[in-house]
Structure formats: structure tokens, C-alpha cells
Symmetry: C2
Subunit: 419 residues, 2 copies
């Protein structure tokens, strides 16, 4: 059968209570979008068989494909599999191979299988079990010719590999459209200004589409083309990207299809064979954390110095007492001396520093508003600092995240100037 | 009117495409749970007036309260307000006071109001506007005697303060139950073992309920009592908490109602008047970042040293070349010397260090599996390291997060032993 439309139904009282944020729906939606399968509705119900049955039945009526997550565990309140099987009129059968795998999973941890885990080996008659390498609950793939129903466990680290390894390739064969997407990354121009320049283009374009997303101090324009083939989709996207590049937004584009700025930074430094260190005040380690989120960052990142107190700024980075006295800790001069200190101490080609007011209340000693941040950069024959203004209405997490993004952007800017 | 049940309907094509994770539903669900208002269903629809109308109409049929987020912006595809007003048969009227506020908002940024923002000043007849201090879109509160309908903007930093300042107090008066919740925090005993000990208690308890949540290397047991008054709910919870404390799980409880371990650590250090520094290898700044997530952490946290390379471990922390040669960078001895170095350099009462294999592939030089982490602690007359085993099946983010949690847990353990 061919799949054009899908619904996602996430099961779990913890979702309805807001104890867990529903990242599964976002992940699956993104993957379905890539397949050109339209999702018009997603919903959440608790571990309640009647409401689950009603929601699943509605979804099967409205869409070709129904993907359920959650409620496949071994405990008494895990009911998704039984409820869906009963809705589709399928009896449950015990799969001895799966049972052996679950027993083996426990054995690998040196423990006997608890009795209640055995029910995880029951599957609806005629369904395909989906292997689960990181947990005990197998998924279920049912194709009854009228609908495809996929059941996946709730924990994202189990669900995601099962989706990408097993479900995605099968759905790929059942979808006759393909969505080709590209992202244009923008920093330094605000959301409404970008929209002003591109509004007509956004409104008039239905395929490919051009959609703006503002996120934590940067903007992304998503170009999506629904096409018969990858090649056709690529061509459609390319034309749209050219239009954006030639608009007044063009000069603010800093990357195309960057997964994130951390990876872009690490790969750019690797290409150029340069090493980096950081000196952090208000970000308190956030910048180092984000750079080292990238596997393999050790090739370019040697380390950093977190100086939260003024004493540490002086003793570990050699910021001069006069600078702190005259300019305060939140100043361009302090940022420059911090970067210089990190570069000297960690012996790297480039060092970047961040110092600022992350809030919630400003430090009276600095006289700066919350959201005022200075980024310093030190490299051979180069030293400078730039002031970044972040809205003081935003919270500490936002300000610290944007401050660390701007520090990375500053390094990228410096590297592109020196090409 | 009295409110017993609610549905949440989030509007936005970006949610259906998975471009944005739906944190709004989680936040609102949690707040409604606190009010004793039951949410049986939440859903997401795109910026499509027909599907929005259908979903809102279903929700109004099933629940007393409908909360919608998203689609209140100034752009052409923001349609929530108009769609809901039409569903309820209410004409739109322009509110001159709101219009003036929007103009003022733009003026405070030194910009004229774009014409399309004027429609944000239109509200359904008889509705209350909900002030928005961090954006231009006011919310809408409608009580027609049969249903309460609340419209809030999509960006969480706008939505949350509007909900807590305006919506929550009004709903509080309309709900006749109150849910009192407490969380029991557990580290060091696995999920299935905790459930084995408490299964009967979980299954037999309907009010108060006892529900387990496993999250990133720790477990939380949530006790929730639906009661007529706060006092009655507190008493019901207290009895359940006593039962858990007296079970075999008791010794693994490390906190009750800790918002998170970061805040617990900072407040405990403040109480004891002790200062802290960190030395990080595999966490690359994550530990410092998490500690400085806490506003006011500067009172106890002076800074940290991120030593990603062996050279930096030696030059900045004084780890001896022999130790690195003989034990490798991922070892208890290295962890101890890292903590010692940070404590000396940053002159703090306590220092903690983290070194380990965060993956995705292990460093052959250390001979350790991915997930092997050592936490070192240095304090007056005390130096030790502990080995932490984290599943090698987990990703880099998980391993680094759990490693930093364990480091914080180690400090708390040390502090409680020295009481």
C-alpha cells in the first residue's frame, strides 16, 4: 500500500501530567516530513485503554499510517499493544525468539528476567516485531493492507534507533513522494526584518516552501520541496536558496545546512588545522560544554578556564586588577585579557572569552543591564572584543546559550576573514 | 463555573513538522495537574483553520476548559483567535488600549509598529485580554458559562509568565480540588529494582498515587494526592512518603522535592559556607555549566579548569606525567590529581573532577569502555576517587550529563558524611 498521511499518538500519563516533554512526536514528525508523508494531527492520551482505543480508532479513520509510542513496557499499566491488537481484531501470540532475546538481554546484565517481562514477547498475529537493541520492549509493525500501524517504545533512546533502522526504510518504500529540505542559517538580522524582506516569497511559495524559524538568537529559513525524485527536489530547493541569497537577507547567511554551530565550528577548525581554548565567566562552562558536545572535538579543543570570581580571573587568566577596577568584569577590556590569558595558558592558536550579565539580577558592581555580554578573541597579532546585546527579558538559560553561540559565531567570522 | 477537565490544543505547522518540540503542552499539563484539573487528551494541529476548528470543537465537547497555544502572531498564517471566535459565535472588536500597548512595545525598541501587528489588538467580544509583557500578542480569556477557553501565544517565554500571572490564579478559583505533589529522589538503585520493592504499593494506591520516573541516571517517585484542601493533601502525601522511606528503597533516597541536583548542591554549600571548584575532562564544561545554571551560584562557585588534552591536565592542574603514563587519563589517580589541582589553583574548600570516556568510540590509549567515568574529590584531609559505570549503549550527551550528576552527588554525599 501507499502512504500519504499519518497521525502520531503518544501514550503515557507522564506526558499528560507534563512530567515528560514529548520529544518523540517532534522526532517522528520530522522523519515523516522527510518522507513526504503529511502529518495533520498528533495527540497524547494516558495509559487508559478506552481513551487509547478511541484515539487510535479516530486516527486510523483519518490517516494511512498510525505511529504510536509508549506503553510497551513490562508493567501492569503498559497496554498499548493489547489495545491496538484488540482494535484491529488480532489475537496475541508469544514469540519464542523474542522471549529468548529478552532473557539474553537480562543475562548480559547478570540478572534473571523478571516474570512480568515475558509479556513483552507477545505480538499481534501477523505483525513484524521491530528489534530493540537498547531495551527489552520490541516494537511492532502491522500492515493490514488498509492501514500501517507502528508501535514503538516511549524512551527516546530506544525509539529513535528502532525508527531509523527498521521503520524508516519500510516507509520509504511505501511513500511515493520525497521531501527535500535545506536550511539557511542567519545571524545578525532579526526575525521581523527577515520576514519583511521575504514575506512575498514566503506567501507565494507553496512548493518549495520557505518557512522562518527563530531560535535562541539566530534564525533559520527552511526550504522544503515535495518532489517525485531527490534530484527534482534538489533542483527546486536550489532555485529558492538562490533567491534568498540575492535578497537583502543574503549577507547575514552564515551557513547552509549546518546541523549546529558547534559542529560547524569544530569542522572549520579541523579543516584549517587550528586549536582553540576558551575563557568563560557568565557562561560558566556552557561554551566548553557545547564545543565538546561534538565527538572528536579533542582534535581542536584543548581546554578552558572558567573564572566565575574576579580572583580567579586575575590568578588563572592574568586579568589585571586595574582592568577589573576601572572597567569592571563585564567589559571589553576584561574580555580581551581573559582571551589572552586562556590562549597563553592553553597554548592554542585562538582563544575566545565570554563575560557578561546572565541575570536574573544585574551585579551592581558592573553597572550593566542583564543581557549585556562581551566576547573577546585572541589570536596571533589579533585581539579584540565585541559587545553583544541580548534581551534582558530573557531568562538565564537563554542569555547564556546565546552568549555562547555568539562566541562561536565570532570565531567563525574571524576564520572566514582570514581565508 | 467549576472546571474539572481540560484539553490542550497546540497550533503550529512547525510542531507537526517536528521543527519545534512541544514544551508548552508539558508546562500547561503540569500546572493543570497542580490545580487538580484532569487532562485526558492533548493534541497538535497545523495553521489550518478547518482542522483547527474541528479539533477545538471536539475539545469543547469533551472538556470544561480548552487551552490553545500558538497562532496569535501578526503574520498571515496566525489564525487561532479568529477561528476560535468564529466557533464560539463571537465578533472581533479592536481594543484601542491594547493597540496603544503594542505601539509602545515597538517604540521601546525604537521602531514603528508594522501594520500587520494591528490585528493583534483585535479580541473576541466579551473576552478578557491577557497582558503579554515579553511580546506583542496579548492572550485571550473567554468564559461563556459553558466552557472556559484560553488562548496563549506559542513562544514559551511569552506563554509561561502569562499563564502563571493571569490564567493560573483564575483557574485556581474555578477548580474545587487541589493536587498536592511531592517527589522522592533516588540515586544508586535501578528502575526495575525500585519497582520490584514498591510494585504492590504503586498498584494498590489510587489516591495518593505513587508513580516512578526514570531520568538520566536517577529515579524519581512522584506522590500525588487529590484532596479538598492543601492540608488534607499534605497529610495524605506524608503517609505515602513514610511508607517509601521504610521500604528497602529508603536508603537510596537523596532528596525530597529537590527541583534539581544543581540547586540542591548550591544551597547545601551556601548553608555550610563552603566554596567549590571543578576540574573537567570528558564533561568539557558541562559540570560548571550546570552549577552556574543556578542563579546566585557565584556565592559558592569560584570557577573551574577544563583540561581536554593531557598537556592541559599537566600544565594547568599539575597532574603528573607518570600518572598519565601509568594509569592513563581515565583513572582514579588522574581524577584525584585533577581535583587536587583545581582545589589548589582556585583556592576552594572542595574541588571535584570528572574524567572518562564519553564516546562514541573509546580512546585506545585509556583501554576503558565508553561509559567508564571517574569522579575525584579533594577537600581538607580528604582525597578520593570513585568509578562510575554508565551504559555504553547511551549517547555522548547522556553519558556526560550522568557523569556531571554523579560528580554533584559525590559532593553531596561527602557533605552529608561530614555533618
Amino acid at each position: 500500500m501507499k502512504i500519504k498521511t499519518a497521525e502520531i499518538l503518544c501514550v503515557g500519563t507522564e506526558l499528560l501530567l507534563g512530567e515528560v516533554v514529548n520529544t518523540n512526536a517532534a522526532y517522528i514528525s520530522q522523519e515523516l516530513a522527510r518522507l513526504g508523508i503529511s502529518v495533520y494531527h498528533t495527540s497524547v492520551v494516558g495509559d487508559n485503554p478506552e481513551r487509547l482505543k478511541k484515539a487510535a480508532s479516530d486516527a486510523l479513520h483519518n490517516a494511512d499510517l498510525l505511529i504510536l509510542t509508549g506503553g510497551l513496557g513490562p508493567t501492569y499499566d503498559d497496554l498499548t499493544k493489547e489495545t491496538v491488537a484488540s482494535l484491529l481484531g488480532l489475537p496475541m501470540v508469544r514469540d519464542e525468539k523474542i522471549l529468548a532475546e529478552i532473557e539474553e538481554f537480562f543475562a548480559s546484565w547478570g540478572r534473571p528476567m523478571p516474570e512480568n517481562n515475558a509479556k513483552q514477547a507477545d505480538i499481534p498475529l501477523g505483525a513484524l516485531p521491530i528489534p530493540n537493541k537498547t531495551g527489552t520492549a520490541p516494537g511492532i509493525f502491522i500492515d493490514n493492507g488498509k492501514n500501517v500501524v507502528v508501535l514503538l517504545p516511549g524512551p527516546p533512546f530506544e525509539m529513535k534507533p528502532m525508527f531509523s533502522d527498521f521503520v524508516y526504510p519500510r516507509l520509504r518504500q511505501m511513500s511515493d513522494k520525497v521531501l527535500v529540505c535545506h536550511n539557511i542559517h542567519i545571524m545578525g538580522m532579526g526575525e521581523s526584518e527577515v520576514e519583511t524582506h521575504l514575506l512575498t516569497l514566503m506567501q507565494d511559495s507553496t512548493n518549495p516552501t520557505l518557512a522562518p524559524y527563530a531560535k535562541e538568537g539566530e534564525m533559520r529559513l527552511r526550504v522544503g520541496a515535495l518532489a517525485e525524485s531527490e534530484a527534482e527536489g534538489e533542483k527546486m530547493c536550489e532555485e529558492m536558496i538562490e533567491k534568498v541569497k540575492n535578497s537583502p537577507v543574503g549577507p547575514y547567511i552564515y551557513a547552509l545546512d549546518a546541523e549546529n554551530i558547534e559542529k560547524l565550528l569544530v569542522s572549520t577548525l579541523k579543516e584549517k588545522g587550528l586549536t582553540l581554548s576558551v575563557a568563560e565567566s557568565c557562561t560558566g562552562g556552557y561554551l566548553g560544554k557545547r564545543i565538546t558536545d561534538v565527538a572528536g572535538s579533542s582534535a581542536v579543543f584543548t581546554g578552558g578556564i572558567i573564572t566565575y570570581s574576579n580572583e580567579a580571573k586575575m590568578s588563572l587568566l592574568g586579568v589585571s586588577p586595574e582592568t577589573l577596577e576601572r572597567h569592571t568584569a563585564v567589559s571589553g577590556q576584561t574580555a580581551i585579557e581573559m582571551a589572552r590569558g586562556a590562549r597563553e595558558k592553553l597554548k592554542t592558536d585562538i582563544a575566545v572569552s565570554v563575560t557578561g550579565e546572565a541575570g536574573p539580577t544585574p551585579d551592581p558592581a558592573t553597572g550593566c543591564d542583564v543581557g549585556t555580554v562581551f566576547v573577546g578573541l585572541s589570536a596571533e597579532n589579533t585581539e579584540y572584543a565585541t559587545r553583544v546585546h541580548i534581551s534582558r527579558h530573557r531568562d538565564r538559560e537563554y542569555i547564556r546559550k546565546v552568549a555562547s553561540s555568539r562566541a562561536m559565531r565570532e570565531i567563525l567570522k574571524f576564520l572566514s576573514k582570514n581565508e
